[in-house]
Subunit: 433 residues, 2 copies
């Protein structure tokens, strides 16, 4: 006999089927009882009135794994219009001890640390797992759009011979007796691959040995990267980012309707363009509106990002805001300087609901200029010779960005700590499970 998934059950009215899943809840009314079974897709109610079958559930802990065979019957009062009757239960994996917390209530009670200690259990919570289904569709939407735009997906090494973006914040590894490093980003590799495919993207882990525990940093996260050749300037990259974000959110709306409803999310709509302001203008706005003088500072603080997002939402009607032209000193050696204002770079950050979620820009593509700039930053050519090789043998004007998947998910779902939207977060204190 067929095993079907809970979400398919309403289509099987009048048929006997198997459902398999976890004992989500059980209300024992004596003569009869209501079992809610949860599987990977959803939940479904079974009504039991046979004492022998009910005995199998009595004393059993929630989360026990069951196979339930029965008749799908129409039931207008049920949310999905059907339930299961005449059930026969097989306990596949009994849970023998009490759960550390309830996972079948709307509110997940434990604090973040307890939740993370018990992540394999806690992630089963319907609201929790909804986050990671949305995360999967964000990735799928990212790839789908970029492949339509002629991008080729690459997978670049995470063990590298030299620290990619400067020596700080890099994890060191014992590589057969010599030091190696964990890649802080696929930056160098994706640029090299512009020389091969023009347009490349990667979805993969990046590693930052940052010694501070903040709500918006973890030490390993998923980066959505791309790099594209033959651009005019950084605004081509910003336009590609605008397009791909619109597509990603569209995909979440299409494919995650139940999750969006469950989490009561408001998916932002993105018009033809996202408003952009230059860094000095952004600092001037902060000065005038919020009375803090950060003019001339090299970077924005988290508070500045919140203010600028408030400004963009109120004055520009946008939940997104590009801040462009970060100062040269704050960007890496490969960042392209602005022709007219060489102290600024053709770069951007994207703010979304008060937090930076993307960093990108145009890169230097001429070999001599890149070597010169590396030298200014104290980087010797022999430290980056593999990277420089791509430029020695011809690179077009190009640019790209890196987007933090968990950051994006955090802002989309209204969370305030990256650890709440990371499957198994890694930070100063946490390496498990």
């Amino acid at each position: 006999m067929l095993r079907i998934r809970t979400i398919e059950a309403p289509a099987y009215v009048g048929q006997r089927v198997h459902l398999g899943g976890w004992m989500h809840s059980w209300r024992d009314m004596g003569q009869f009882g209501f079992l809610v079974l949860r599987d990977g897709a959803g939940t479904f109610q079974a009504v039991l009135d046979n004492q022998e079958e009910m005995a199998k559930l009595r004393g059993l802990q929630y989360e026990s794994v069951l196979d339930v065979e029965g008749l799908i019957a129409a039931e207008p009062r049920a949310a999905v219009g059907a339930e299961m009757h005449d059930c026969h239960i097989e306990v596949l994996s009994p849970v023998l001890e009490p759960l550390p917390f309830e996972v079948n209530k709307k509110e997940l009670k434990p604090g973040l640390d307890t939740f993370l200690d018990y992540a394999p259990l806690g992630l089963r919570h319907l609201q929790k797992r909804a986050l990671f289904r949305i995360s999967a569709e964000l990735m799928a939407g990212y790839r789908e759009y970029l492949m339509q735009q002629g991008f080729v997906e690459i997978q670049t090494p995470k063990i590298v011979g030299a620290a990619t973006e400067g020596g700080a914040n890099v994890f060191v590894l014992d590589y057969f007796g010599r030091p190696a490093y964990l890649a802080q980003s696929p930056q160098f590799y994706k640029q090299m691959m512009v020389g091969v495919f023009e347009r490349v993207f990667e979805v993969g882990p990046v590693f930052r040995a940052e010694k501070h525990n903040t709500a918006r940093h973890t030490n390993e996260y998923v980066s959505l990267d791309l790099e594209m050749g033959f651009i005019n300037d950084h605004t081509d990259v910003m336009n590609m980012l605008t397009g791909v974000l619109r597509h990603m959110f569209g995909r979440v709306t299409d494919k995650c309707a139940r999750e969006v409803a469950l989490l009561k999310l408001r998916i932002p709509s993105i018009g033809d363009t996202i408003p952009a302001i230059r860094m000095p203008a952004a600092q001037q706005i902060i000065f005038e509106r919020y009375k803090e003088d950060c003019r001339g500072e090299p970077d924005l603080s988290p508070q500045h990002e919140v203010w600028l997002s408030q400004y963009a939402e109120k004055e520009l009607g946008s939940e997104f805001l590009f801040v462009t032209h970060y100062p040269t000193g704050k960007r890496p050696f490969y960042a392209m300087a602005d022709d007219e204002e060489p102290a600024l770079t053709k770069s951007f950050d994207l703010l979304f609901r008060g937090c930076e979620v993307v960093t990108g820009g145009q890169r230097i593509h001429r070999y001599d200029q890149l070597v010169q700039n590396a030298d200014k930053w104290g980087i010797k050519p022999e430290q980056i010779d593999g990277y420089l090789q791509a430029f020695k043998y011809g690179m077009p004007p190009h640019g790209g960005f890196g987007m933090g998947l968990e950051r994006l998910l955090m802002q989309l779902t209204g969370h305030t700590n990256l650890r709440e939207v990371t499957l198994f977060p890694r930070d100063l204190d946490r390496l498990a499970p």
Copy 2:
């Protein structure tokens, strides 16, 4: 004016456009000359007859990056039926020194080591880059099929607190003063996530600190993993693998027609099922046909795999062969033993054209049995407590597999060394570029 890609050019006959790309080849005939421009998508020929424009190319090294503006004209003698006339050239990035080897010839001359030293250049070779476009479509096909089958994509941490699959062959990392490890596979995490989504998959890097340099091993590779719940036994996993492989090859056929033709590949067709033989029967065949007695040995050698593939192709008409029921001692502690023959496991390897490309099987899902088995393998429960937690709180019968992307690509494209089909390989001697 529009910049178009080379593959789009034949559709623009009669129009002036920009092409951007690399100076792939240049034949100077004095009064006129033929420039072949290569971009990320393909190549296109431009015919120059203006001395001023031709002067820009004279003395310029191949791989210089050009913007070429001109008129697309019909030309029946050209392979694509069109070429560019009346060209104006802008040199975007000149290459100033000779290339270490030619990348515009059908044969790529340098040996593997030289090629890898100059990978950013060598990967531009048309045949070389075709491999990685196919690789991208294999990944895309993998995800596409699994999402259709209700799988959810996950991204699990690569920095782990304990070595997942035994202590050998694991890279050790300095994690803020204490040791951490690079994940040898997402095995434990994908199993935990069966408790959440039933069906999950991951495409990501795995790390093996194997101290031997063989043609079929590298120290970092891309693993296509999945894990699925509510199976009857390992054959459900084998069927899923059969389906996903068929889809992946179908996608390569659809999306990579030019690459398949360029590389003269024969894409295997996969029927409803792939033939399967049990390990003892496989060893008996080797004994009878090839006169080597490996009966009772715990594993197959590379030579055995070659012989079995020969046998399968000749006798069973299949380029694929499942070998099932590997001995308990050769599989990890979580492998499910066969009910009828407890010395063997419900496991499988998939051989493809003489090489193992997938390993999988059913896993133990009952908590007590798993703890007991871990103990037999000398693993203490506290070493794997995060993992065990998932089982303590209810896990269904489940299984899965891990497939090496580069291995699959190697066998598909007829290469003999994994380093030829890995973008930037990592081995004992190589950490760069």
